[in-house]
């Protein structure tokens, strides 16, 4: 093989490699967009329907779940890597405690001095305070954190690596999913920054789910329901 033929071969291989990398990046973006679009369809289209037709929520939610699980299987992501094992639980909790205390104090101050709202613990729906709400809060937090961190955050890390860029985009996407509720968008953006950054250092979804449930409880207990728009997002926000 002449030197020229060798150089040509290297060039062709490099071009193929470049295209493959581009294709992989495109796939990652497509996966993220696909899951986000399912959530937006659920929030903006299905919730606009009435009564029993809300059961149609199962379609976009189911499709998103199938995609996330299948993609993680195809990519060979393990439970530990995703943060679904017990690993990093304590470390993640330790990292969460500080920002959560600061966030809770900030919410108490905003509620007290901005809205003049009294601190009311257990402002949740009747019957949920003692047992139901913490369980529901954890399950709901787990679901959201799984999609947000174990899927979106990890794919953004594959694109850009760990760091502020990935953290910022995760938080922006999390806020986008809470449109058009301004108060929730602000809260989820700040929470999203915290959870995304901590997940990158200590990936554990259970710790994040606990934090999610606790911070939601603090949010609801410190700010008036009218300011939070009844925690409604998407089409339901309008009534």
């Amino acid at each position: 093989m002449s030197a020229r033929e060798f150089d040509n071969g290297v060039e062709v291989r490099a071009r193929i490699t470049e295209q493959a990398a581009l294709g992989e990046r495109a796939l990652l973006v497509w996966e993220i967009v696909s899951v986000i679009s399912s959530a937006l369809v659920a929030e903006w289209a299905v919730l606009a329907l009435g009564d029993w037709q809300k059961l149609a929520l199962a379609v976009p939610v189911g499709l998103a779940c199938v995609l996330m699980l299948a993609s993680q299987r195809v990519r060979g992501e393990t439970r530990r890597e995703l943060g679904l094992s017990g690993a990093n639980f304590g470390r993640a909790l330790r990292l969460l405690v500080g920002p959560m205390i600061v966030g809770a104090l900030a919410l108490v101050c905003v509620g007290r001095f901005w809205y003049g709202a009294p601190l009311v613990f257990g402002r949740q729906r009747a019957g949920w305070e003692l047992f139901g709400w913490p369980v529901w809060g954890f399950v709901w937090g787990l679901t959201q954190q799984y999609a947000l961190q174990a899927f979106i955050n990890r794919r953004l890390q594959m694109l850009w690596g760990r760091g502020w860029q990935t953290t910022l985009v995760v938080a922006l996407l999390f806020a986008l999913l809470h449109l058009p509720n301004p108060c929730l968008m602000a809260a989820t953006f700040i929470g999203g920054l915290m959870w995304a950054a901590i997940y990158q250092r200590a990936p554990n979804i259970y710790a994040l789910a606990i934090s999610h449930a606790v911070m939601t409880w603090v949010l609801v207990s410190t700010l008036p329901a009218a300011a939070l728009g009844g925690l409604r997002v998407g089409y339901k926000y309008f009534g």
Binding site: S34, A48, L49, Q53, V59, V74, R75, M158
Partner: protein
């Protein structure tokens, strides 16, 4: 690890591809392996097919939602007419062709303001003889409120329940203009009559 996914270090060394993830200094902050993007051809094809399939199913789902929502909100089967309008009565008929035996609820708007409501259950033999409904009770006859003298416009809307406690109003036939003559009762009525007759 799944057979479709390969360690990034191997892939990078074999292909010389740029690393799609982070620097070693970032890795040092966590004890977890850095997520990698590399997929072999088969895995990439599978994932692409999955994404395409999901996109198609979701598009069809949204299209179906639009059709269901439109059908539920804007009933395309209302048939009817606004035959007569004057200071005493506004009359006509309405049938829901998808449920011809049902008696449609109607609302009267005059000059763009709500004036009266009722049900199209008055006798109209011509509706039945025209084959519009199995019975003749599909007429409406609504009494307008006291109106000031001058020209007014009447519109009749069929009420369509559209789920979750919402209703939509669908105009039946074209609006009808009519003139109210001066009388002892209405000569003092303001032009903004709806302010005076508000319940």
């Amino acid at each position: 690890m799944n057979a479709d996914a390969q360690p990034v270090a191997d892939a990078a060394s074999q292909t010389g591809s740029p690393r799609l993830a982070v620097s070693a200094s970032d890795d040092a902050r966590t004890n977890e392996a850095r997520p990698t993007a590399h997929l072999n051809e088969r895995a990439r094809t599978r994932l692409t097919h999955l994404l395409l399939g999901k996109s198609i199913v979701e598009t069809l789902f949204v299209a179906a939602l639009v059709v269901v929502f439109a059908r539920q909100t804007f009933n395309p089967f209302f048939r009817g007419s606004l035959d007569n309008a004057d200071a005493q009565a506004v009359a006509g008929w309405v049938v829901d062709a998808s449920a011809p035996a049902a008696h449609v609820e109607v609302q009267l708007f005059i000059d763009g303001h709500f004036a009266a409501r009722g049900r199209a259950d008055h006798e109209r033999a011509d509706v039945r003889s025209a084959g519009r409904a199995p019975d003749e009770f599909h007429g409406y006859n609504l009494q307008p409120p006291l109106l000031p003298p001058g020209e007014h416009e009447a519109r009749i809307y069929a009420v369509q329940p559209s789920g979750a406690g919402r209703i939509t109003l669908q105009q039946v036939d074209k609006p009808l203009r009519f003139v109210v003559p001066v009388s002892d009762e209405n000569k003092a009525m303001p032009n903004a009559w709806w302010e005076a007759t508000r319940p």
